[in-house]
């Protein structure tokens, strides 16, 4: 270090004692002959002392409990994904039987990738325990035809035959009926 130059930019880190050995020694050597830098170090030391006098932050036990609840929710997510994957696997088995049935009933199954379906379309996810016979009976009772699915998460799209999209009451009732089919339908939403 140039003895004539003030090591001004290092002084804060001299004051907090974090300089490496070489820089610390160089600053100390400079300070022995520089009143101005000694006064600056004194100012910085007073500054440090006051900053460190800030009231200590108490451990936030409520915050910790909140954090642990969030963490548990996050931990549950992968398991839920696994559960969904398992459900999807079961649904695929059910679907094989379902498609066999659909193939015999024109025009209940419409090919994927066609134009956007008209009318009222619902998204359904079936319970893993639902049987093909149960699903078929439910769809027939609701005059619903499968138009797409299952997705990777086991979701089917079905169209409600004979229902107008603007008939909100009838659509709500159909949704409620699907949701009430416990043991068969896990989720039902309007698309």
């Amino acid at each position: 270090m140039n003895a004539a130059a003030h090591p001004d930019e290092l002084l804060p880190w001299y004051a907090n004692r974090s300089l490496g050995e070489a820089e610390h020694a160089a600053v100390e050597a400079h300070l022995r002959g520089c009143e101005r830098c000694r006064a600056e170090v004194e100012f910085l030391a007073a500054l440090r002392e006051q900053v460190q006098r800030a009231p200590a932050v108490r451990m936030d036990e409520v915050g910790l409990q909140r954090l642990l609840r969030q963490v548990r929710r996050e931990q549950a997510r992968p398991r839920r994904r696994l559960a969904l994957a398992a459900a999807a696997a079961v649904v695929i088995v059910v679907q094989a039987a379902l498609i066999g049935w659909l193939a015999t009933r024109e025009p209940v199954f419409e090919p994927l990738g066609g134009p956007a379906p008209a009318g009222v379309v619902l998204q359904l996810r079936f319970e893993p325990s639902a049987t093909e016979a149960n699903i078929r009976a439910l769809l027939e009772a609701q005059h619903a035809v499968v138009i797409d699915g299952p997705s990777a998460l086991g979701i089917y799209r079905v169209r409600l035959q004979g229902l107008r999209a603007d008939d909100a009451g009838a659509v709500s009732k159909a949704l409620a009926d699907f949701r009430a089919a416990r043991g068969i339908v896990a989720e039902a939403e309007r698309q």
Partner: protein, 190 residues
């Protein structure tokens, strides 16, 4: 911190990476206060600081597996805090910000060294002056004088060159001196 303590804490982070809640709770007990203090100094708002400190600890849980032990746990967690504070600042960018002091616009009353030291010892006055500094300078002052970190570690936390840390500290000192040397009426918003 001793190498032994740093190693203990690295093991704590490894435990968090394995999903051990008790290790996260211990990490929280050790660091939440320091993370909050840093964020409060940086952000200036207790509610924002507390909320962001929670986000930091959640991120610790999520990213513990990526901790490579190349830095101290304190440096690592304050680096996360820095990121979270920047994210929050970006989200709030459209909201009106509190005016910050530009040290260059402050009157220099040219107090002598003894008077400056005396005023630096006036905790309330000093707090007021620190709050008037730009956010980036407040962060450097906090990390240097509350955490006693070296300029290299501060640069790692703030992800900026060491020269920038020194420059910010230089401007912070000048701003503080001008504020401390003022009349005390309302230097920070001058």
């Amino acid at each position: 911190m001793s190498a032994h303590a740093a190693s203990d804490e690295a093991m704590l982070i490894a435990g968090i990476a394995r999903g051990r809640e008790q290790d996260l709770a211990e990490f929280y007990r050790r660091y939440q206060g320091r993370v909050y203090a840093f964020l409060l100094r940086r952000m200036g708002d207790a509610a924002d600081a507390a909320e962001t400190a929670n986000e930091v600890m959640l991120e610790v849980w999520r990213s513990a597996a990526r901790f490579e032990g190349r830095s101290r746990p304190l440096t690592w967690v304050l680096g996360i805090a820095q990121h979270k504070a920047l994210d929050r600042a970006r989200r709030a960018a459209s909201r009106p910000q509190r005016a910050e002091t530009d040290p260059d616009t402050l009157a220099d009353d040219s107090l002598g060294a003894v008077d400056l030291i005396a005023r630096a010892q006036d905790a309330e006055r000093l707090r007021h002056c620190i709050e008037g500094l730009p956010e980036a300078q407040r962060a450097v002052v906090h990390l240097a004088f509350y955490e006693d970190l070296g300029y290299g570690e501060i640069a790692a936390i703030l992800e900026c060159p060491e020269g920038t840390v020194k420059t910010r500290m230089f401007h912070a000192r000048r701003g503080l001196k001008r504020c401390l040397g003022g009349t005390g009426e309302d230097e920070a918003s001058a």
